[in-house]
């Protein structure tokens, strides 16, 4: 029976990841990139490829390490603890999961490049201010043997620097997912620096040419490919947010043990102790949902939707509480840019919106639970 505890391999992976990330991608890394006006560090990504992280969901025959979704969640969680700025979710989780649903030589080649770390992807779905894959207007009109894509996408995370785009478009009989180069003729990107110091682009498509080869999966049936990719991404994002909550919480508890006021450590005050303990409980409960989502995606992916939505809803809620309490318990210092808590707070807000907010996932849960 599947156990809701980490395996030896997962514990070792987490330890190794922590060791590497503390060295190579502490919060100071994100801060330095922000100060330099950048959102992506190719050198960091190349190192992650060498360690097999970019190929975590790439089959071995395509050169990946194929460690599975629970392992991807372990990595995402460790990255979340120090807010490591990487296109891990867009490329190694979402794009890789979409591509591996497709049995073509081209998809296999793309997967190999993801594992090598030589390509980055971004997922272009949103058109309004909320995640809603059902409600899109960008069209792919038939044009000879191919298509022409016209419309606009917003909040394309990592879209400012990604090499390729997965674009959800309306076709005659449904919606279709296209895999096209980000520098194709007719694509205009305006990268927008977001509050979390990462990147999301607004992208305009003006009669962008796409061939039948560029269709990922089947025309009019994007969801066969996109649903598993979205669920994988939502679970990994939930894991990242859980790591983020743990990172913020660790700093807060550390501060309670060193800050003195009224001649004593503020951690002796019951008002703060109980709030810290309550937050710890929320983190614990959310951790269980993350583990379960990873297990379900690995063992019973057809029925993972409930586990994934519970995980994403819980994780954004817990992360939000952790950063709000983090700033409040730090007091004035928590409000300064010099201190890192603001970076945690801003990333938590972006993570809450990306791939479905609380209401979206609560709706999924309610539907699957019969109300």
């Amino acid at each position: 029976m599947t156990k809701l505890i980490r395996s030896e391999e997962e514990i070792m992976l987490a330890d190794a990841a922590r060791g590497y990330l503390d060295e190579a991608a502490p919060v100071a890394k994100l801060r330095a990139l922000r100060d330099a006006g950048e959102a992506h560090d190719p050198a960091l990504w190349a190192e992650m490829a060498q360690m097999g992280w970019t190929g975590v969901l790439v089959p071995e025959e395509a050169g990946g390490s194929d460690m599975g979704h629970a392992a991807a969640c372990v990595l995402a969680e460790e990255m979340g603890k120090t807010l490591a700025p990487t296109p891990f979710l867009s490329t190694a989780v979402i794009a890789a999961t979409a591509l591996r649903q497709v049995a073509s030589a081209r998809a296999k080649a793309a997967l190999a490049k993801i594992a090598e770390g030589t390509v980055t992807y971004a997922l272009a779905i949103d058109e309004g201010s909320k995640f809603d894959p059902e409600a899109i207007d960008l069209v792919a009109e038939k044009d000879g043997n191919g298509f022409r894509l016209s419309g606009q996408k917003r909040f394309v995370v990592d879209g400012g620097f990604a090499d390729r785009l997965l674009v959800l478009a309306r076709t005659e009989g449904g919606v279709t997912l296209f895999d096209i180069p980000a520098d194709a003729t007719g694509v205009t990107r305006s990268a927008k620096p977001m509050i979390d110091s990462r990147d999301a682009a607004e992208i305009t498509f003006d009669k962008v040419e796409a061939t039948g080869e560029d269709v990922l999966g089947t025309v009019d049936d994007a969801m066969a490919v996109l649903k598993p990719a979205l669920e994988a991404g939502q679970a990994a994002l939930a894991a990242e947010l859980t790591g983020l909550a743990a990172g913020a919480f660790g700093r807060t508890v550390g501060y309670l043990k060193e800050r003195k006021q009224f001649g004593t450590l503020i951690g002796t005050f019951q008002a703060l102790q109980h709030r810290a303990a309550d937050l710890w409980c929320e983190c614990e409960v959310t951790s269980s949902a993350i583990l379960h989502a990873g297990r379900m995606l690995d063992t019973d992916p057809e029925n993972a939707a409930l586990a994934v939505s519970v995980a994403k809803a819980r994780a954004m809620d817990t992360a939000s509480l952790a950063v709000r309490e983090g700033v409040q318990m730090h007091g004035g210092i928590g409000m300064t840019d010099e201190f890192d808590m603001g970076f945690y707070m801003r990333r938590a807000r972006v993570g809450a919106e990306w791939l479905g907010d609380y209401g979206y996932h609560a709706g999924v849960v309610a539907g699957l639970r019969g109300f």
Binding site: L4, T268, Q273, E284, V285, A366, G370, F371
Partner: protein, 383 residues
């Protein structure tokens, strides 16, 4: 190993099919639906009696206890299968009791072999019903300040004092109690864990009427009660160790009770039948409760897996107790809100359940005590 488990599942399924009476397949978990056992128990039906006897004969009332003490010797995976298969046919648990949840685990850990042989099988067969003598009028959250005293009289202790909030003391056959046997020692170090026959001369009980209109709790009085020396669990004056160990089991038991109440159906699905779930604020609260409840259920699973793997900590039960009881209180509020004025009469079961749930975050250690335990022992925050 998975083959073995599949085989085990098939055996359990076949046994249940043959042995679980139809009347016991209604998933009921109310106060008397599940048998509490003991000499004073009145079976609500022949089927309830038959069901208990058949399960007890196989050790299924206490599946994980060793066979020689009345259990079935199941491991955690097997127990899970037993519970899953029982849930599949909507079967009632054959027996519930404080003996199973609290005293049993403590005896298995601290008792002598003779004590286990003597006390555990009657619990497993539902013959003896136990109650818990912990709190006193002056010892609530500060439990270790209990004053009920036991004087050393050579072959027995002479016990005098009063316990309060003794659940079902008026129906129980025996009580496990914290008794001060050394008045000079520091408060945690002068307590012994004694087992006392409720029919002993000098023991009396008085039910306390609660806000729910029911009286599940009693005051229990000890007036020159003689307790033989062999009726002690663990070492004299070190009963606090037993008490704490037992409390972790009590807290885990209380933490899961709210989840069991709904069976496999979601609260939202149950409330939707009332037609009131379209109201957006209620619906939103129910959704949030559903998400938290599912995640908490997974946490109970995870902690059991941790305990089995030997990586758990006893202190974590404070978290389960705190979170589970607060969740159950939310659940009861939502049930009342969903039912509207339908649930405002005394002939409806919902109001008493709602009122009863308010004790969840008090009994077995208040939510505030749980948060203090987490703060000190898990987070390491200063005194």
């Amino acid at each position: 190993m998975n083959d073995d488990l599949a085989q085990f599942r098939a055996e359990i399924r076949a046994w249940l099919e043959q042995n679980c009476p139809q009347e016991m397949r209604d998933g009921a978990v109310g106060e008397d639906s599940t048998c509490w056992g003991g000499k004073n128990w009145n079976f609500t039906s022949d089927a309830q009696k038959t069901w208990l006897e058949r399960c007890a004969a196989k050790g299924y009332t206490v599946p994980t206890w060793p066979v020689e003490y009345g259990g079935a010797g199941m491991n955690r995976d097997q127990e899970k299968i037993w519970l899953e298969e029982l849930a599949t046919i909507n079967g009632r648990l054959p027996l519930q009791s404080f003996g199973i949840w609290m005293l049993g685990p403590a005896l298995l850990h601290f008792g002598t072999h003779e004590q286990k042989l003597h006390y555990l099988p009657p619990i497993a067969r539902g013959e003896i019903r136990w109650c818990q003598g912990y709190s006193e009028p002056g010892a609530g959250s500060d439990l270790a300040s209990v004053q009920t005293k036991g004087e050393d009289k050579g072959d027995h202790w002479l016990v005098n004092g009063q316990k309060i909030w003794t659940s079902y003391a008026d129906k129980a056959d025996w009580i496990f109690a914290l008794i001060r046997t050394d008045r000079e020692a520091k408060k945690h170090l002068g307590i012994s864990f004694l087992l006392i026959d409720m029919t002993s001369p000098g023991v009396s009980t008085k039910p306390i009427r609660l806000i729910s209109g029911k009286s599940p709790f009693c005051e229990t009085f000890f007036d020159n009660v003689e307790v033989p020396k062999h009726q002690i669990v663990g070492t004299e004056n070190r009963g606090w160790d037993v008490a704490k160990y037992l409390l972790t089991h009590e807290r885990e038991m209380i933490s899961g009770s709210g989840l069991l109440a709904g069976g496999s159906r979601s609260l939202g699905a149950i409330l939707a039948e009332s037609g009131n779930l379209d109201e957006p604020v209620l619906r939103s609260d129910v959704m949030r409760h559903e998400i938290d409840g599912l995640a908490f259920g997974l946490t109970l699973e995870r902690y059991k897996d941790q305990a089995e793997a030997g990586t758990g900590t006893g202190d974590a039960s404070a978290m389960l107790k705190y979170y589970g009881t607060e969740l159950n209180k939310r659940r009861q509020e939502l049930i009342m809100a969903g039912a509207g004025s339908d649930a405002l009469t005394w002939d409806d079961e919902r109001a008493p359940h709602w009122l009863r749930s308010k004790a969840n975050s008090i009994e077995g250690g208040t939510s505030e005590v749980m948060l203090s335990i987490i703060s000190r022992r898990i987070l390491g925050l200063p005194g």
